[in-house]
Amino acid sequence: MKLTLKIWRQKNAKAAGGFVTYQMNDVSPEMAFLEMLDALNKKLVEEDKEPIAFDHDCREGICGSCGMYINGHPHGPVPAITTCHLSMRFFKDGETVWIEPWRAKPFPVIRDLIVDRTAFDKIQFAGGFISINTGGAPEANLIPVKKEDSDNAFDSAVCVGCGACVAACKNASAMLFVSAKISQFALLPQGRIEARDRVRSMVEKMDELGFGNCSNTGACEAECPKEIKISNIARLNREFYKAY
């Protein structure tokens, strides 16, 4: 396949960025999207040009490192997958592909397609935990949990922290991300004890870091590679109102 790539290049956080056009002449439909970028980078290095910087690590959809807008969609046009799982078989010969970093104020660009997502960690530092010291836990089966609750908690806990929800939202809201953690713990008896403080601290931190409000458009749910449901946000709201 022949593809025209329009890729956002930006030297560092302060520099101005812009799109640069690259021609790819032998893209195989069997390649993964990131492998296509690897091939481009190999070529660039051979021409002594600076390769495109992008975050990636596990390349199997679980670490949450990768993430970019591809043709206007976080993680590309295929639903429910991360960028590293996107295959080139979803693109057509001759197509022009636009590749950009997450665009959200709380995620400043570091270089090219890499953004700073430490704001997510800061929200988790604020309250994303259950306070139990090592050695202080009771025997595991002394905390029975209804299978249904446990399964639902798991469904919320599969968030990989990639930031696609924020990137998809016109307000750069982090509600889906925060609600996934709040829900996981709210559904488990272990998590109930600190539920009130947790929701307050995490929401407060989220606001402080400049994430916007949720206006219920549902773009986050539609673009989430792990299919985290927007019903988590409803639960977050309930938990939040209960806490005051």
Partner: protein, 639 residues
């Protein structure tokens, strides 16, 4: 010459740890705050250790190369985590878990360490459950388990096919709590470039800030490496693309012995390589072998679609060769049996380098819903990658490099041969002998981090309470920083043509072909020649555009690849030295008539700990003889 002392406590096996804990020196809570500990790595072992040591009141500095600790490769573990809870009443016990690991490791691990790993396994499950890790549950609300290879009990706790993710997020949450309290300071996007020794003790590290390119000095009273495995030596592996051996290797060059480097596990079930551009191999969890049956056609070169091949024309080769364990034989055995069938021409798919993993019978028996609840995300992932639906057709799978049993040599206290330098998790060598059993690594990494190092490190730190803060202005830091800068400059100035990955790929192929699932003397010797050739090419034809004073992923990669060459050489040297077949190390010269591994206990019942003697100098071998007091050393059989 340095003597190896494993410091295994005296007394009966089952009481060693209890006795050790009762007699270990402690540090007064008031003094803990004054003592600094560097922990490199935020996987289960590193995040666990940072949390537990932070809780105790030590001042902890935690490093990782990713942007967030939550992305350490522990996150990718799928199948599960073992514990000797015996919730199923199927005869499990700490002793049985210990025994399974010793046997599974083909009698090349230390009894004392393995028993302790089994002993703390139950606490690990209690702790994760309390942290809110959503393990799978039964309808009554209690925890569910499943079976893994190489054992006959059901002791594996799991969260669908994402157990590593859930456990790591649990560990990340406990780390976050300590960060909030100020007991742990986090340094993400940092790569450790060197270890700093002062008066022979580990006192700090040199790092590169991966965003700014700045070279930084960090000091501490002790350093813990929790930097994971080096399975990426094969280029294609189930590890993260950026996983690397560099931190451990730098420590090795500063005096830490490297043990059993050639013991690398090749996992039997990974999505096969589909094309030449491929950058990694995706694991299909071992848990799938609970319900999936591995087979190839009975006729060579049978190219019919799998579903068109009738039952009596299928060769369920694991069930045929190993009737007792069937599809649940350990990984090394399953991988070799698969390779044997493919080499003999019975492989399936375009390349013939694949076999079927078939769920047809289980779906018929249990229904699609049950199978989906057990492996939903794995089936989804397989379909995403290959376009094939495992509910309709068998998966095609092939072995892939996966786990390094070898690593830094440590004693019972998890201290390396450098005083004050500890190694935990996959980065050490201690618990899995020559082959690791499934679901025992999450268990070991978590046990090391949460429950073992927080006890054993006190013995060392109790002598450090009068040391005072260690200044990074000292000459030793200056010298280490200079070395790091010089090496970076050297890499930057080559100005050749090829990128670092191209070299990594070529090296990976050499290692896979000559030092992979099967090895022989001729091939290993050839590998040494090829590695040297490639290394020369690397140092003359590498190109890194850009500068070192900015984010530069090519430079990061190049530094790692430069180390890979050296690691590869030692790995092959170790494989050459070990003239026996044991666990994952299979030397063609040493096998039984029916193709099973032939150990040589008389000459090789030892841990091979290698000492670095300088560039271009041969490594020196130190032997730690293994003594089996509790188990009878037998021929490992799964037939």
């Amino acid at each position: 010459m340095a003597q190896l002392n494993a410091k295994i406590p005296e007394g009966p096996l089952a009481q060693k740890w209890t006795k050790y804990k009762a007699s270990v020196k402690l540090v007064n809570p008031a003094n803990k705050k004054k003592l600094e500990i560097i922990i490199v790595g935020t996987g289960l072992s590193g995040a666990g250790a940072a949390s537990a040591l932070g809780e105790l009141g030590y001042s902890v500095k935690s490093f990782c190369y990713q942007d967030s600790p939550r992305r350490a490769h522990s996150v990718a573990a799928q199948g599960g985590i073992n514990a000797a809870k015996n919730y199923q009443n199927d005869g499990d016990s700490i002793y049985r878990l210990f025994y399974d690991m010793i046997k599974g490791g083909d009698y090349r691990a230390r009894e004392g360490n393995v028993y302790r790993a089994a002993e703390v396994s139950n606490q690990v499950i209690d702790h994760f459950t309390a942290l809110g890790v959503p393990f799978a549950r039964d309808y009554g609300g209690t925890l569910d388990t499943r079976s893994f290879g190489g054992v006959q009990v059901s002791r594996t706790f799991y969260s669908s096919g994402q157990t590593g993710q859930q456990c790591l997020l649990g560990a990340y949450s406990s780390l976050n709590r300590q960060i909030k309290k100020g007991n742990v300071t986090l340094y993400p996007r940092r790569e450790m470039l060197d270890l700093v020794l002062i008066d022979g003790k580990a006192r700090g590290i040199i790092t590169r800030n991966l965003i700014t390119g700045e070279i930084e000095r960090h000091s501490a009273h002790a350093v813990i490496l929790a930097t994971g495995g080096y399975g990426t030596i094969y280029y294609l592996s189930t590890l993260a693309v950026n996983s690397n051996p560099s931190a451990a290797w730098k420590a090795h060059k500063k005096g830490a012995f490297f043990a059993n480097p050639s013991f690398i596990q090749i996992h039997p079930t990974s999505v096969p390589q589909l094309n030449e551009f491929q950058s990694k191999l995706t694991l299909m969890s071992e848990s799938l072998r609970n319900d999936g049956r591995m087979w190839v056609p009975k006729t060579k070169g049978d190219k019919r679609p799998a579903n068109d091949i009738p039952e009596d024309e299928r060769d369920y080769y694991l069930e045929r060769r190993y009737p007792t364990f069937g599809n649940l034989v350990p990984r090394d055995v399953a991988s070799r049996a698969t390779k044997e069938r493919c080499d003999a021409g019975f492989g399936v798919g375009e390349t013939g380098l694949a076999v079927n993993l078939d769920f047809r019978d289980s779906i018929k028996k249990l229904g699609k819903k049950v199978i989906a609840s057990r492996y939903g995300n794995l089936f989804h992932m397989y379909k995403t990658i290959t376009g094939i639906d495992p509910f309709e057709e068998p998966m095609r799978i092939y072995p892939a490099g996966h786990y390094t049993m070898g690593g830094l040599w440590v004693d019972y206290e998890l201290m390396t041969t450098i005083p004050g330098l500890f190694a935990i998790g996959e980065s050490n060598f201690s618990d899995h002998g020559a082959n690791r059993l499934g679901a025992s690594s999450l268990m070991q990494a978590s046990g090391d981090g949460y429950f073992i190092i927080p006890v054993t490190i006190n013995n060392y730190l109790s002598d450090e309470i009068r040391t005072g803060k260690i200044s990074t202005d000292r000459a030793e830091f200056e010298a280490a920083e200079k070395d790091s800068v010089e090496r970076i400059n050297k890499l930057m100035s080559i100005k050749g043509k090829q990128n670092a990955s191209s070299f990594h790929k070529k090296l990976g192929k050499v290692m896979w072909d000559y030092c992979g699932m099967v090895r022989n003397e001729e091939g290993l010797k050839k590998a040494l020649v090829l590695i040297e050739e490639l290394r020369k090419e690397f140092w003359s034809d590498l190109n890194i555009p850009g500068t070192e004073a900015e984010l530069n992923q090519e430079l990061e990669k190049a530094g790692r690849v430069a180390d890979y060459f050296e690691v590869a050489e030692l790995l092959v040297t170790d494989a050459l030295n070990r003239k026996e077949s044991c666990g994952a190390h299979f030397r063609e010269e040493y096998q039984t008539a029916d193709g099973e591994a032939m150990r040589n206990d008389e000459n090789f019942s030892y841990v091979a700990a290698w000492e670095y003697k300088g560039a271009g100098e041969p490594h020196i071998l130190h032997k730690e003889e293994l003594h089996f007091e509790e188990v009878e050393v037998k021929v490992r059989s799964y037939k």
